[in-house]
Structure formats: structure tokens, C-alpha cells
């Protein structure tokens, strides 16, 4: 059994805010939900399945369901950090295929800026009942130094350079200049990236993503409902998800769960990496993109540095246009979780609704990939492949 063709993405929405001092967390979720429903041409009373992760306020999904007044027959609170929302697309497709719901709503929101959260350089403590905390937290693992260790090892094993990593930011900045909502709209050069302040060796400030408030939402529906709406048809072809951790001390920082989630999604979609016209790749840091591109099979392991260089990810000139909204590196990384917006921009591309300056011609096949947690310790990976019908 497969979900290939069993579900469609009928609505997407990216909240325009990047700093939400004037809105509550629940309000950001609800505004995002209404935005995606309006995009699909549906109303909140059509929703019969709700999918959310740990960024919602309250116990699981319950407070948001109550806030929005939803009447549901299916709930999924799969939590896997920034990859959660891609997993939700897969789980929604599964639920729809089994008749458990027909209009699935997925929301994400957060306000780390308004709350003054030290996102990148302060150690995160998931609580002393988390079995790894006593063996890691004392050593000051942060978001940035964990990814930095991945970059350091990748450089050691494969000769990857800071200049190659910088090309990923350069490409994102070329795209962000056209996005009026993007936080960083200046086009940057390789030299500017590698001469920006060192945050955690070998990652510079411009190797890092933005920190933003905001949110977004996705509507997944049955084929019958999608075809009754007035929007372009974006079919879910294949999905994959995989965890990766430290494997009891057999640590390998050079690859991610994308190796497994990508293979699963491509197999289900009956397509291959070279078929993709566009890719949304999770970009918490430049190194995140490079490792995942290799793992998804866009190039050989270890060749990511050469693959991303010389503008190969820039729409219009490169072979694999990526993150044409500017991605997390330049546009938006709401709630420190970039997975949902990856699906949003892929859907824009498939509909032909991306900014004209970055719209990929004849974009009929696209991939969105997310990572949640940390490539440096343990993470979830999820891949969604979509087709314009």
C-alpha cells in the first residue's frame, strides 16, 4: 500500500510577521490556519483532522482545537522539531488514504524573538528526565556548536571548505532579494560570508539562519476535495521519515536521516533526485543543506561542496534551484522550526506562484525536506515529494 496519489496539498500559508510582539502564540496558529484555509477555498468547519507539534500552547493539540472551535475525527501531535510538519503531511496523507479524515490542517507558530529567547548560542536543556542530558548538557551543546562539529568533520573527511558552504548562503540571498517579507534581503558574496564573525568554528554568522517569529499552515485533502477546489492540483507522490541518533556511541556526523527518509520518499514517488525541478532543503545552517543534499542523492556523499558552488542552487542559472523564498538562511525560520515553510515554497513553485524572478519554468516535480532536533546529536528527518498535476 502506498500514499502516492492519495492526497493533495490544497492550501498553504506563510504568516508575514517576523516579529510578533502584538500577537499571542495561539493567535499566530489560528491566523496561519485561516490563511491556509482561505488559500484552499475552504472554511474551518471543513477541517476534520488536525496536526501539530510541540510549538502549540497547551496539552498536545487540545488547546488549539478548542481555541479554533474545530470538530475533528483525527488528531496527530507527532513532535520531531522542525521536521514535524513534513511528517504531518505524510501522516495526513496516510489518514486520508485510510478514510480517517478528508481535510487535514497542519499549523506551526512561535515567537522566539518576542520572547527574547537565546536561540543559537545558549545550551538547550530538554529536562533532567531526558536520558542524554546529564551526559551532554554540562558540556554546553548549543544549536550552533553542534552543527559546527558536523561541518568540521565533513571538512576533515571530504575537504569541504568554508567558501563552498558560503555559496549556499549566497544562493539563498539571491532569492531573498525578491521576497518583500524576507528578513535579510541584501545579496551577499562568498567573501562577505567567510569574513563575517566566527560564531562557532567553522560556522560564521552568515552560515546561520535568521531567528524569526511567525508561523504557517498547510491543508492536505482527499483527491475528491482537491479536485472540487479552484486551486492548481499539487499531489503528494511520496513521503519518508527517519530518525538518526548517536547509535550508542557509534557517532557519525557526516550524514543525516535524509539518507533514509529520502530513499523512502523517492521509492514511493517512483521518481529520482535528478527528476526534481526544485528542492526546499532545511537550512538552519549552510552545512545542514550540504549534508542533506548529499543524503537525498542530489550528489555523491562528500561531493556536496562542489555541487553547491558557483551558483548551482540559484534559480535561473543553477541546476537545482533551492529555497527560492530565501529559506531559513535569509527569509524566515518561524519558531526555530523551518520545516513547514519548506513545503509552502515548494507548493508555490509547483503552482507557478513563486516570485517571477525565481519561478522555475515548468516546475512539475518538487521535493521538500526537513530536519528537526540536531544533526550533531539526534534528529528526525522527513522528505515529501510533490507533483503538479
Amino acid at each position: 500500500m502506498s500514499i502516492n496519489g492519495k492526497a493533495y496539498i490544497a492550501g498553504v500559508y506563510e504568516h508575514p510577521t517576523r516579529k510578533a510582539v502584538d500577537k499571542s502564540l495561539a493567535q499566530l496558529h489560528a491566523e496561519s490556519a485561516l490563511g491556509a484555509l482561505a488559500d484552499a477555498g475552504l472554511s474551518k468547519n471543513d477541517v476534520d483532522g488536525y496536526f501539530c507539534a510541540g510549538d502549540v500552547p497547551g496539552l498536545g493539540a487540545l488547546s488549539m482545537i478548542d481555541y479554533m472551535g474545530l470538530n475533528l475525527r483525527h488528531i496527530d501531535t507527532t513532535e520531531s522539531g522542525g521536521s514535524s510538519y513534513l511528517m504531518h503531511v505524510g501522516h495526513a496523507a496516510e489518514a486520508i488514504a485510510l478514510g480517517k479524515c478528508s481535510v487535514a490542517l497542519i499549523t506551526l507558530a512561535g515567537r522566539p524573538r518576542a520572547e527574547g529567547m537565546a536561540t543559537g548560542t545558549a545550551p538547550r536543556n530538554y529536562g533532567s528526565s531526558s536520558p542524554d542530558v546529564a551526559f551532554e548538557f554540562p558540556f554546553g551543546p548549543t544549536v550552533v556548536n553542534m552543527y559546527a562539529m558536523c561541518a568540521m568533520r565533513h571538512m576533515h573527511e571530504y575537504g569541504t571548505t568554508s567558501e563552498q558552504l558560503a555559496w549556499i548562503k549566497v544562493a539563498a540571498s539571491h532569492h531573498a532579494q525578491h521576497n518583500e517579507h524576507a528578513m535579510l534581503r541584501n545579496v551577499v558574496t562568498v567573501e562577505e560570508v567567510v569574513s563575517s564573525p566566527m560564531i562557532s568554528d567553522p560556522l560564521h554568522r552568515l552560515d546561520c539562519c535568521v531567528i524569526s517569529d511567525g508561523g504557517g499552515a498547510i491543508i492536505v485533502t482527499s483527491p475528491e476535495i482537491a479536485k472540487s477546489l479552484k486551486r492548481p492540483l499539487v499531489k503528494v507522490l511520496g513521503v519518508g521519515e527517519a530518525p538518526k541518533g548517536q547509535m550508542g556511541g557509534k557517532v557519525d556526523l557526516t550524514y543525516s536521516g535524509a539518507r533514509f527518509s529520502g530513499a523512502t520518499a523517492f521509492e514511493e514517488g517512483k521518481v529520482k533526485p535528478s527528476d526534481m525541478k526544485y528542492a526546499s532543503i532545511y537550512d538552519s545552517f549552510t552545512i545542514t543543506v550540504l549534508i542533506q543534499l548529499e543524503d537525498l542523492g542530489f550528489c555523491e556523499k562528500g561531493k556536496g561542496g562542489a555541487f553547491v558552488s558557483d551558483g548551482n542552487l540559484i534559480a535561473g542559472t543553477g541546476k537545482l534551484p533551492f529555497n527560492t523564498d530565501g529559506g531559513g538562511l535569509c527569509n524566515n525560520h518561524p519558531a526555530n522550526r523551518g520545516g513547514l515553510t519548506k513545503v509552502v515554497e515548494a507548493v508555490r513553485q509547483l503552482r507557478g506562484e513563486a516570485h517571477p524572478a525565481v519561478q522555475v519554468a515548468n516546475c512539475d516535480l518538487a521535493l521538500a525536506h526537513g530536519t528537526g532536533g540536531s544533526l550533531g546529536t539526534r534528529h528526525g528527518a522527513s522528505t515529501v515529494i510533490m507533483e503538479r498535476e
Binding site: A134, F139, N145, M149, M152, H156, S200, D201, G248, G249
Partner: protein, 132 residues
């Protein structure tokens, strides 16, 4: 040499790990060892993450190893070097490199165990490493 040393938070022990932290207080670094499959693991825990057996115990590490990867976080005071060290005994563990020139670290560099005291002086020390 870094003159300032970061203050290590004191790890909380639980029933799963109290033997590990008790040994740490006596200067011994213990790693998990499976009596069923013979594999070592880190961090130590109540089941073998390799084969699933619960017939696991602790064995003492030699405390010698090499840097698998590291990064110096520059934007804090004082800067510090987080690392994964691969023990000669097998497993790779997260740690800090101390008593070192933070600009002269390298992957593959040989290091040796030196426990560092933590914020609570009655609490357990944490296993850190210095250049061998």
C-alpha cells in the same frame, strides 16, 4: 592557554546512571558494556542499544582517545571547545577539551581524561579531556 574556565553545570544522576556518577566521583570513567553481544556503548544505560539485551554493566575506560570532531564557541565568555572524543575503548562521547590552546586543536588529536569539577561542589565531576 585559556585563562578562564567555564563553570560546568552539575549533572543530575538517576537510578539508571547513579553508579556511573558514583564512579566519576572516584575519578573513574565508566562505559556501558553488554554481556550478551560484547559491544560497548556510551552513554551508559539500562539496555544495550546495539542488541537490546538488558544484561549490561559498566566497565572502566582507559580514558585515552582522540578528537572525532570539535568546535570552539566564540560568542560566549569564556569561549570553550565542545568535542566528540572517540575512546580507545570504542564509543564516541560528547565532552569538552580543557587545558588546551583552543586555536590549536585538530581532529585526530590524542587526548586523555581529566575530570572537571562542577558548580555544586558536592556533585559529581564531568569527564573532560586534555591534550595527551
Amino acid at each position: 592557554m585559556s585563562v578562564k574556565q567555564r563553570i560546568f553545570p552539575t549533572p543530575e544522576s538517576d537510578p539508571d546512571t547513579e553508579a556511573f556518577w558514583a564512579a566519576a566521583k572516584t575519578g573513574k570513567l565508566m562505559i556501558g558494556s553488554c554481556k550478551s553481544c560484547g559491544e560497548k556503548h556510551y552513554y551508559p544505560r539500562g539496555m544495550c542499544p546495539h542488541c537490546g539485551s538488558s544484561d549490561v554493566g559498566l566497565v572502566q575506560s582507559s580514558g585515552k582517545g582522540q578528537i572525532y570532531s570539535y568546535s570552539v564557541l566564540r560568542r560566549v565568555d569564556p569561549p570553550y571547545a565542545i568535542a566528540y572524543v572517540t575512546l580507545d575503548d570504542g564509543p564516541t562521547m560528547m565532552t569538552n577539551i580543557i587545558e588546551a590552546d583552543l586555536d590549536a586543536l585538530s581532529i585526530g588529536q590524542k587526548v586523555e581524561l581529566k575530570f572537571s569539577p562542577t558548580a555544586d561542589e558536592d556533585g559529581a565531576p564531568v569527564p573532560t579531556f586534555k591534550p595527551a
